[in-house]
């Protein structure tokens, strides 16, 4: 039986080979990447304990990313659902519109410390790429963003941003021409260029060190939220549930990090269940999947019997990934977090309800999955239950998709 340890950061609970629970994670990479990954691992271990580095990080988080993001009660939604009290961490107010900025800032700082001049990154919905481009422009790093050709077509506004920040956007035309292929291509590029280039993985996936850097970066979310919760309630509520969508898992990892040891805080991860009438999904922890190696680490992967990645389907571009962070595989297996999924239809309904009732909060389709779960469970919960939803993206980026779905003219 795999067990979570108390008092030790989740990101450090792996074994000497980088496996959480002895089986999730690792650095399953080509030998050519061993050196840069060891270098990065060494350097990050130093930096994360270096006060000057922390101060630098905090400076950028505060002044550029805009920490802390608001923590607010959703009075209208609470009243409407008539059960648990619904709160929301408005992470979408981070610069760029999502939590992806934390990871991007930290990677850019690391790249600078390593003396690299190039930085490469993968992107699906385009958020990770946009924010890496933004940060890279600021630090004078030349950014190269790998993006599936199909995603380039459907996420044009983010592509525009990347170009505005002077990044080179590399269309990936292999395979399904989406995120999976973009990550693969980015890793290929890094294999060739790691002497002068740093690589940023856009979520808590990839080889162990990337999982760690990403989760360490997004942990800012729960660090600042813990203070906000205590400010609001005077103490940590007896009965609290933290609901977060899970694609790669970086947002959830950051939202939950500081609460790991608080057993009265339930952690609920919501994956993308895909369309109601389709067998396809992007929910490896909830639906059919198998342990596998994808992009350098062992995790649950949506794949066929022959080990080939299967096509996923979700209305939310950011959740549309066949794997999931080893951290979440671990949290599931230890029972610390529970995972479920919401369908495309439920996410759209949640988006509509929250936008119309709350106004200030209009979640993108990823957090709309988390809201869907909150909407499902809140009515049957007591009024002293506190549900906190991480609204980690803003609907503007999904305008096209939602409008089409709802029959708005756009």
């Amino acid at each position: 039986m795999i067990e979570l340890q108390k008092g030790i950061p989740l990101i450090d609970q792996h074994d000497e080979h980088g496996y959480w629970g002895g089986k999730f994670g690792g650095s399953q990479i080509a030998e050519s990447l061993n050196y840069p990954i060891e270098e990065l691992t060494r350097e990050f271990e130093k930096l994360r304990h270096d006060e000057k580095f922390i101060a630098e990080r905090d400076h950028y988080f505060k002044n550029f990313v805009g920490a802390p993001t608001p923590f607010i009660k959703l009075n209208n939604l609470t009243k409407y659902l008539g059960g648990a009290q619904i709160y929301c961490k408005l992470v979408s107010k981070a610069t760029g519109g999502a939590h992806k900025a934390y990871n991007a800032v930290v990677h850019a700082l690391i790249a600078k410390h390593l003396g690299k001049t190039f930085i490469g990154g993968d992107t699906g919905a385009g958020y990770a790429g946009k924010m890496l481009s933004m940060v890279s422009a600021h630090f004078g790093l030349k950014a190269k963003i790998f993006m599936g050709a199909k995603d380039i077509e459907r996420q044009q506004i983010n592509v525009f941003s990347m170009r505005s920040y002077g990044a080179e956007v590399v269309p990936v035309t292999s395979g399904s021409q989406t995120l999976v292929n973009a990550v693969s291509e980015c890793m290929r590029w890094w294999t060739a260029e790691n002497e002068t280039a740093h690589m940023c993985v856009g979520s808590t996936v990839g080889p162990t060190i990337f999982v760690k850097i990403c989760a360490w970066s997004t942990a800012q979310i729960s660090r600042e939220m813990k203070k906000q919760v205590i400010d609001e309630f005077g103490e940590i509520p007896k009965n609290m549930k933290l609901i977060n969508c899970v694609g790669g898992g970086s947002s959830a990892a950051g939202f939950w990090n500081e609460w790991m040891d608080h057993d009265n805080v339930e952690l609920i991860g919501v994956e993308a269940g895909g369309p109601e009438d389709s067998k396809k999904h992007a929910a490896p922890l909830t639906n059919s999947s198998k342990l596998g190696v994808l992009h350098g680490s062992t995790q649950y992967v949506i794949q066929d019997s022959d080990g080939e990645i299967e096509e996923t389907e979700s209305i939310s571009a950011g959740l549309d990934y066949p794997g999931v962070s080893p951290l979440h595989c671990f949290l599931k297996e230890t029972g610390r977090a529970r995972y479920t999924s919401a369908t495309d239809e439920e996410a759209i309904e949640a988006f509509k309800l929250v936008s119309r009732l709350e106004g200030f909060v209009s979640p993108s389709l990823e957090p709309a999955h988390a809201f869907a779960e909150a909407i499902k469970i809140a009515p049957n919960l007591s009024k002293d239950t506190i549900i906190c939803v991480d609204s980690c993206g803003d609907s503007a980026k999904d305008a096209q998709i939602i409008a089409q779905r709802l029959g708005y003219k756009l």
């Binding site: 080509a30 290929r188 190696v293 062992t298 990645i309």
Partner: protein, 272 residues
């Protein structure tokens, strides 16, 4: 047993003063039947050892040429068992050793134990797994050894000397040195001296092991590094298969011709 034949092949060639010529093509590309014909044609054209790719879509070590071959094979429905059956058919008629080159997820999905059993049953001599690095591959490598299959450790230009020693210490008879920092199919961007220096270093650490050198090797570059134990040509062949398919030519014939030319380049050198 397979592991022994591989060792034997190397010592034979060493006597002739020739590096082993290895070819890499993707099993099942462009189809099960033609792929088998390609292997036969390769064998008849002078290749010493045959590397057979067990294609995986998330092949993060490979460049465009091998990706294309892989995509073609997978699109045509080629599965792991198909590749084993191609190898088995090939081995029924030909003596050349076959090494499988693949990715960890293919093995994991098949089950490590099953995979090794199937290798034995199909007469596979060795396994290269791109994303199964030392030391996490040790138990699998040991299992291979027990079954007389050579697990071929990978080494790269940035592998530190310390790590090099540790890996070589744990390695089987054959190792693979990635000549440069790149995916497969890139132009050779390092000098032959650099490669040979590294080869000599490795040889000095483990004189009894055989080192395959790969990445960036084509008709144009093959002569410059002939003083090694073995040379792989892969992307150049995969590209030729793509070209043949696109132009409706017979890939087996074309590949055979290319392998002949490669072999000639190598043997031509002995004349001097």
């Amino acid at each position: 047993m397979s592991s022994d034949t591989l060792k034997q092949k190397f010592s034979e060639l060493k006597k002739e003063g020739l590096p082993a010529l290895l070819t890499y093509t993707v099993g099942g590309d462009p189809s099960k039947d033609i792929s088998l014909e390609i292997f036969k044609s390769i064998a008849e054209s002078g290749a010493d050892i045959i590397e057979c790719g067990l294609g995986h879509s998330a092949n993060i070590g490979d460049g465009a040429a091998i990706q294309d071959s892989t995509y073609r094979a997978l699109s045509n429905g080629i599965q792991t068992d198909d590749v084993f059956s191609i190898i088995k058919s090939f081995k029924n008629e030909y003596s050349q050793d076959v090494i499988i080159m693949t990715y960890q997820n293919k093995i994991m999905s098949y089950g490590e134990k099953n995979f090794i059993e199937k290798c034995v049953a199909s007469n596979v001599s060795g396994i290269i797994c791109v994303d199964y690095p030392w030391p996490t591959n040790m138990s699998f490598a040991d299992e291979c050894k027990k079954n007389n299959i050579t697990f071929i450790q990978l080494l790269s230009p940035t592998t530190s000397e310390e790590r090099l020693k540790l890996i070589l210490d744990d390695s089987h008879d054959v190792c693979y040195y990635i000549s440069q920092l790149s995916t497969t199919g890139s132009k050779l961007k390092v000098s032959s001296e650099e490669i040979l220096n590294k080869f000599n270093l490795m040889k000095s650490i483990a004189p009894e092991k055989n080192f395959i050198i790969g990445f960036g090797i084509t008709l144009d570059t093959i002569q410059s590094i002939k003083d090694v134990d073995a040379i792989v040509v892969g992307s150049a062949l995969c590209k030729e298969i793509s070209r043949s398919v696109n132009e409706s030519q017979n890939p087996a014939t074309n590949i055979g011709n290319m392998v002949k030319q490669l072999k000639e380049k190598l043997t031509a050198l002995i004349g001097f």
